[in-house]
Point group: C2
Chain length 202, copies 2
Amino acid sequence: MTIATRKQREKEEMRELILHAAKNIFLEKGYAETSIRNIAEKIEYSPGTIYLYFKEKDDIFHALHQEGFRKLIGMMLPLQYVEDPFERLKAMGRMYMDFAKQNKDFYDLMFIMQAPMNMEKDECWEEGDKALDHLKQVIRDCQATGRFEGRDVDYLSFIIWSAMHGMCALYCRERCQAYENVDALTLMDEGYKNLISMMAKF
Amino acid sequence: MTIATRKQREKEEMRELILHAAKNIFLEKGYAETSIRNIAEKIEYSPGTIYLYFKEKDDIFHALHQEGFRKLIGMMLPLQYVEDPFERLKAMGRMYMDFAKQNKDFYDLMFIMQAPMNMEKDECWEEGDKALDHLKQVIRDCQATGRFEGRDVDYLSFIIWSAMHGMCALYCRERCQAYENVDALTLMDEGYKNLISMMAKF
DNA sequence: TGGCTAAATGAACAGTGTTCATTTTATTTG
DNA sequence: CAAATAAAATGAACACTGTTCATTTAGCCA
């Protein structure tokens, strides 16, 4: 094993160390409260060191962004074995919602935040595109069984995604409080049922 | 006219002056780039002065938040004369979308940002609640004509709002770019048409 | 004009992301 | 092994942030 490869591995380990610390602070305190100095302190290095492994703060969150998508896709993957396409679509929607509920901060980072988006589209959205392709494919599968006949896949996937995202985003940013007498989780569950009914008759 | 009343008027004018400057910077540069010092500089006062008229930065954005809702409600108001409730609902949806397209930053501030929400619910969401009540009422009007029969108004309004918000939020935060071959505005228009079709058959 | 109150100031505090000359550490060469 | 070189880590410094507060300035009343 050459020194060069060890050096490279150590570099990779350092990146992981930083990411691990960043993720913990981020999940605990949120984006705004996660500072470079906080991360540096946690891993017992100086702030400057972090800039040897990441070009800027957003780079770190870009990495977490990808991790979030890998997590979401990981949750979705088993659902490909649900045979009936519409049932699969329904299960995917529920999974998406559960992901948002259980990983508020990841969801925020992936779909709401402005921060880590100053990247060239191609490299930044690879994982996100994959997730969207999943959705489009299941819609095409539905169409193969006669559902959603004649509907454009792009437009249809967009409104479905929007509806799901809308609920999750309102949830993440506390706008569900507008409904004083209904608890947020119930609101989402029942809202989703309505969406399913709509799609079923569509 | 007593001095006291003039003093009070001057105080109000100063608030307006600050708000006006804040709004301009905010609409031009966004929330993060709008600093107290920037606002102070624009109105040619010292930073400290602003804290004599607003408790904190969020207070300023809370005021803009309200202004945004008044603007949205103002746009919605004429639509109450659309007789058919479902047509009215459709028009309201389109109006909501247009508002988001034309006032990206206001929309962001009103429905996406975390910032100015650290207020006691009652005073902060008065305007927002009014807007939501509008939606609920038109749904009830629809139900009076036999549409959406047996559906819970809270849940139904939530999924409709979510679908609209989802599109607008994805638009505001540049997630429409996920669709490489479709322009964002077309995506929203066509997405909305799909939503209307869904609601029509629901 | 003197006294008082209210308004405005701007330096100071504790924090931020980021840069870079300097020091420390590790590796290679003589 | 020692000296020279290359790589990694440092932390002070820069320009910024929101917010506070002792001090100065301006306006009003007796």
